[in-house]
Every structure is written in structure tokens, then in C-alpha cells.
């Protein structure tokens, strides 16, 4: 008989050393699996970007090879000049900037006013009014699109008859965002009451207080709204498509992208097509790189309340 006292953990009938080794291996295996999974998923996230860029630099012949190459053998810049001229890039970027900037500035103004009223002013029916606004967020936008299409076409804004009308139709319905009002109201509410009272004592009006104190303090949120809204305009497709209905000179960038390269029937086209998608994607990625914090904070804010 062995006289040593051995501690046996009832659980797995292992002694302390074995238990320690086991738990250490389990931890290492777990860590390795976690890393492998995350790295694999990260590569999966990046792969389409990589593939887009290298395909945009390949010649048509190389794209059609049975065995795919993972780096272009000849760098073929011509895809880019083709993409720019075929999409009529200068025109569509002008349209997109006009629509994007005006609707974004408009949204900022309406949002600041409404958020100020909901956050700072006391008036009858405030909470009820706010709840009604929030509840419209539940209703699918398609319900509104149908009637809005009727409305703007009754004003002669569709069909590309006049550019100004088309711009107005692409801007006006998107000058209010209830989600951003909600976001900014939260932000305004955090500004302490004492500041407001102090401003009152100094004889400042509500109007001055809003622009001199609240707006500067809420600048980060306003930047977030500005960027997200601008990105929304850059990515909008279906409404401009309805409004412009085939008038290329009024297209926004995404409409031009889709209508210029509507199918892959000609494989020689794939290079120019990918060059066009790079041109559309790069500005978004640049904005993301410079304003990562603002974008991610704005997007995640939606989920905090649960």
C-alpha cells in the first residue's frame, strides 16, 4: 500500500496535478480554437474587398482563366478609366453631393430644433407627441414610398422632366429622421439644467442657448448624424431609381453603378465593373477610417436601450 496521501477530486477521479494539466490544456485548446475561428471569420470579412481590388486590376483574359490568380499578373489600370467614363462619374458624383449635402444639412436643422423642443422645453402633449413619432419607426418605409411617389409625381418631379424637381424629390422626404431626433434628444438631456438656468439669469434666450451652448456641446453626436446621413445618401438606390426612371443625367452614384453594369454576361466587363465598385466603396472606407469612433458610436447607440 502507498502511504502518500493523495487528494482525489471526486469530480473526474483525477488528482490535483492531472486536474491542473487538464484545465491548462483545455484553456489553451479553447484559446487556439477562439483565435482560429476569429481569424477565419476576419479573413472572410476581408476577402470580398481583396477580391474586388485585385479583380479591378486584372485584364479580361486573366479574369476568365480557369485557375484563378490571387494577384494580377499584369496591372491593368485601364479598367478604372473605363469605369469612370462609362458611369459618367463626374455627373453622378455632382448629383450625389447635391442631394446628400442638402438633405444632410436639412436633417441636421430639423433634428436640432425638434430635439431641443423635446429635451428642453415644457409643453402640453410633449411625451405623447414624442411617442407617436417613435412609433412610426415601426412602420415599414414601403408604406410611405408608394404615396410619396404619387405625391412627387403629381408635382411633376418624376420622369426626369426637370432636374430641380428631381433633386427636391430626392431631398425633401429625407429631411427628417426620427431616429436622429431620438439620438440628439438623449444627448441634449444630459446637458445639466444648471447651465440652462444660468443662461436664463444672464438674459440669454432659448434660441441663443440652443446655438451657443447646446449645439457646441452636442457636436460629437451632430458629427455622427452628419456622417451617417451622408453615407445613407451615397448608398441610396431604390428611391432615386424611381424618381429618375432611366434619366442617366440625374442618377445618383449607386444608380449609375447598377445600371451601367447590369449583368456579367460579358466576362471581359468584370474588370471595369470591379473598378467601378472600388470607386464607390473607397470613399466610404476613407470616411470610416477618419470617423470610425463617431460611426461606431452612432450605430451602437441604437442597441443600448435594448
Amino acid at each position: 500500500m502507498n502511504n502518500d496521501l493523495v487528494l482525489v477530486l471526486k469530480n473526474d477521479r483525477l488528482n490535483v496535478d492531472q486536474q491542473r494539466v487538464l484545465s491548462l490544456t483545455l484553456r489553451i485548446v479553447g484559446l487556439v480554437i477562439t483565435y482560429l475561428f476569429l481569424v477565419f471569420m476576419a479573413l472572410l470579412m476581408l476577402f470580398p474587398f481583396y477580391w474586388m481590388i485585385i479583380t479591378s486590376l486584372k485584364t479580361g483574359a486573366e479574369i476568365q482563366q480557369m485557375e484563378q490568380t490571387y494577384w494580377p499578373t499584369v496591372i491593368f489600370w485601364e479598367n478604372y478609366s473605363q469605369a469612370v467614363s462609362r458611369m459618367d462619374f463626374g455627373t453622378v458624383i455632382t448629383n450625389t453631393l447635391i442631394v446628400g449635402v442638402v438633405s444632410t444639412l436639412g436633417t441636421l436643422v430639423t433634428t436640432i430644433f425638434a430635439a431641443f423642443a423635446f429635451a428642453r422645453l415644457e409643453f402640453k402633449g410633449r411625451d405623447a407627441c414624442f411617442m407617436i413619432l417613435l412609433s412610426t419607426m415601426m412602420i415599414p418605409g414601403e408604406m410611405m414610398v408608394i404615396t410619396n411617389y404619387i405625391t412627387v409625381s403629381l408635382f411633376g418631379m418624376t420622369g426626369g422632366q426637370n432636374a430641380l424637381g428631381a433633386y427636391a424629390a430626392m431631398i425633401l422626404p429625407f429631411m427628417v429622421s426620427i431616429f436622429y431626433i431620438y439620438l440628439l434628444r438623449q444627448n441634449f438631456k444630459q446637458i445639466p439644467n444648471e447651465l440652462y438656468l444660468a443662461a436664463k439669469v444672464d438674459g440669454k434666450s432659448d434660441w441663443q442657448f440652443l446655438w451657443k451652448v447646446m449645439v457646441p456641446l452636442a457636436m460629437p453626436t451632430l458629427i455622427t448624424i452628419f456622417i451617417l446621413k451622408l453615407m445613407g445618401a451615397w448608398n441610396s438606390y431604390v428611391w432615386p431609381n424611381l424618381i429618375t426612371s432611366g434619366h442617366r443625367e440625374l442618377y445618383l452614384v449607386t444608380n449609375a453603378l447598377r445600371s451601367t453594369f447590369d449583368s456579367l454576361t460579358n466576362p471581359n466587363d468584370a474588370g471595369a465593373q470591379m473598378a467601378a465598385t472600388v470607386i464607390v466603396t473607397v470613399p466610404l472606407l476613407l470616411v470610416f477610417i477618419f470617423f470610425r469612433k463617431y460611426i461606431m458610436r452612432g450605430v451602437s447607440r441604437a442597441g443600448i436601450k435594448g
Binding site: 405625391t151 453594369f261 466603396t281
Partner: protein, 308 residues
């Protein structure tokens, strides 16, 4: 309270209320009304009175649009929803928990995982169309297959397989929808008190058990939120179809394949573009009711399961 604030407040709210009245409140009511109008002509506002006809044409087996909606668009939409929502939530949850467990690389990977969010869904859809191309797509090349995922392959004469197309579409939708979910889940994970995990450690609970018994229940408000928003998003899937299959929504004829990937929202926009707004309205109301029912069910189930 000062009563003089009343009119001032409404003045501040005026721009929002006017715009909402014209472009949100009136449209909601009007779309309902139009969906019940017979032979509605919006250019002069005339109709032949009240009818259920628009709904009958969509819902009854003899209706003109029964095949387009009930046999094509709605099944497509439901399949997309029930495939992509559970998969993307589970994968996003795994990624978020994984990221949270290794703080060293969390920041860098988090940025990479957010990249698909800041993309144009049409543009990246076109990239996936190149990746999944039947003749020269890299997906076939990696798998050593010759599957016609999205397009007819003239070299092999193979038409598009519906399930292959659905796979490619779901793959893209999941890829595109992960970032938002990961971000929300990571936000929720940050708020979980470390002491729950310390307690679990004392009880010698394993990692899987800890995740299942502590992390998931404590994350349930975020999971519910993500579930509801992604169900709504999936029911309204449209851009991804256009990006992947082109304007035609993947029109496959007898040689290229029998089906299409058109969704309910695709049907709605198609009807608007062809000036048949009453059918578009009826379809939109049907979609709204479906979304309402699903959201209601999720809230009811969540009452038992979600821990606030």
C-alpha cells in the same frame, strides 16, 4: 410651468411636423386607402370605389398576382428570413463572445468585423456576383466545382439552381449583416458585471456552461433587440437581391433556370414603377401585417425568456 413655451415649442417642432405630415403620416393612411380602391388612377385621383379586389388578386389562387407574390416573392422572403436571421445571430454572438475573451486583439479585429457595415450594398453585391460567377468565380475555383450559383453557364449549359442561388444570396446577406449585430452584442457584453464570472469560476463552471448559463441570459435584451430588427430587415430584403442578380431580380427563363429571387419588396417597387400603385399598396399592407405579427410573437416569447 410657463405656458408661453407652448407656442414656441410647436414653432421649433414645425419643420419636423410639416415634413412628417406630408411624407409619413399622410402616406401611411393614404396607402391603406389606396390598397382598397378599385382601378385607382393616381394622375387624376379617380377610382371606381371601394374594393377588396387588390388583395384578392394577390391572395387568392386565381388572382393575377398569386404566382408573383404567394408562390414566388413571399416564399423567397420567408426562406431568406429564416435562413439568414438565426445564422447571422449565432455567428455574431460567437464572434462577439470570442472577441470579448481576448482583449489583446479585440480593437483591431473589431474594426475589421465592422467593415462590411460601411459598404454600399449594391456595390458589394456586385463583388459577390463576381465571386460566385458560374464560369470564372473564385468560389467555384476554391471548391473545385462548376455550380451555377447566380447565372446560367453557357459553357456547361447548366441552368441556375434555386437552392444554390439562395445559398449565395444568404451568404451575402449574412456577411453584410454581421457587423451591426457584433457591435450591439459587444456593447451588451461590456455591461455584464465581472462578478457573475467570478462566481462561476468559484463554482468551477466550464467555459461553455458559463457562456450558456450566464452570458447568453444576461445578453438577452440585446439578442431580442437584434432579433426584432433583423427580422424586420430580412422581410424587407431588396438591395442585396439587386446587387447580386441585377435589376431583373434574377430573372431566370426556361434555359437559365425556372425561378427568380424576387422578394416582396421587389414586387412592391416593380408595381410602383409600372404605375399599379393599388397592388403595390395591398402588398405593402400585407408585408406590414406580417411584420407586425412576427414582432408581436417575439415580444410575447421574450416576456418569459428575456432577463432585464
Amino acid at each position: 410651468m410657463e405656458t408661453k413655451n407652448n407656442w414656441k415649442a410647436w414653432l421649433y417642432l414645425a419643420p419636423v411636423i410639416i415634413l412628417l405630415a406630408v411624407f409619413t403620416f399622410y402616406p401611411i393612411i393614404n396607402t391603406f386607402v389606396v390598397s382598397f380602391l378599385k382601378g385607382y388612377n393616381y394622375t387624376n385621383g379617380t377610382s371606381q370605389g371601394f374594393t377588396f379586389e387588390n388583395y384578392v388578386q394577390i391572395l387568392s389562387p386565381n388572382g393575377v398576382y398569386f404566382k408573383d407574390v404567394m408562390q414566388t416573392a413571399l416564399p423567397n422572403t420567408l426562406l431568406i428570413t429564416f435562413i439568414t436571421v438565426p445564422i447571422s445571430i449565432i455567428v455574431a454572438l460567437l464572434i462577439a463572445i470570442g472577441l470579448n475573451s481576448i482583449p489583446a486583439v479585440k480593437k483591431l479585429l473589431q474594426t475589421i468585423f465592422f467593415l462590411p457595415y460601411v459598404t454600399n450594398s449594391i456595390a458589394i453585391g456586385m463583388v459577390f456576383a463576381v465571386i460566385f460567377d458560374s464560369r470564372f468565380g473564385v468560389f467555384n475555383s476554391i471548391l473545385h466545382t462548376q455550380i451555377s450559383w447566380l447565372t446560367y453557364n453557357p459553357d456547361t449549359g447548366q441552368s441556375v439552381n434555386y437552392w444554390a442561388a439562395l445559398f449565395a444570396l444568404s451568404f451575402y446577406i449574412v456577411w453584410h449583416s454581421l457587423p451591426y449585430k457584433i457591435l450591439i452584442f459587444l456593447g451588451g457584453l461590456q455591461n455584464i458585471d465581472q462578478q457573475y464570472y467570478d462566481a462561476a469560476k468559484i463554482d468551477a463552471a466550464g467555459r461553455i456552461k458559463t457562456t450558456w448559463r450566464i452570458t447568453v441570459p444576461l445578453l438577452s435584451p440585446q439578442i431580442l433587440y437584434v432579433m426584432i430588427t433583423s427580422f424586420i430587415g430580412a422581410f424587407k430584403e431588396y438591395d442585396s437581391v439587386i446587387g447580386l442578380f441585377g435589376d431583373s431580380g434574377g430573372f431566370f427563363d426556361s434555359t437559365t433556370g425556372p425561378d427568380t429571387m424576387k422578394t416582396v419588396v421587389y414586387f412592391i417597387y416593380q408595381q410602383i414603377a409600372q404605375n399599379r400603385v393599388q397592388y403595390a399598396s395591398a402588398a405593402a399592407v400585407i408585408l406590414f401585417i406580417i411584420i407586425l405579427i412576427f414582432t408581436g410573437i417575439q415580444f410575447m416569447v421574450s416576456k418569459k425568456r428575456v432577463h432585464y
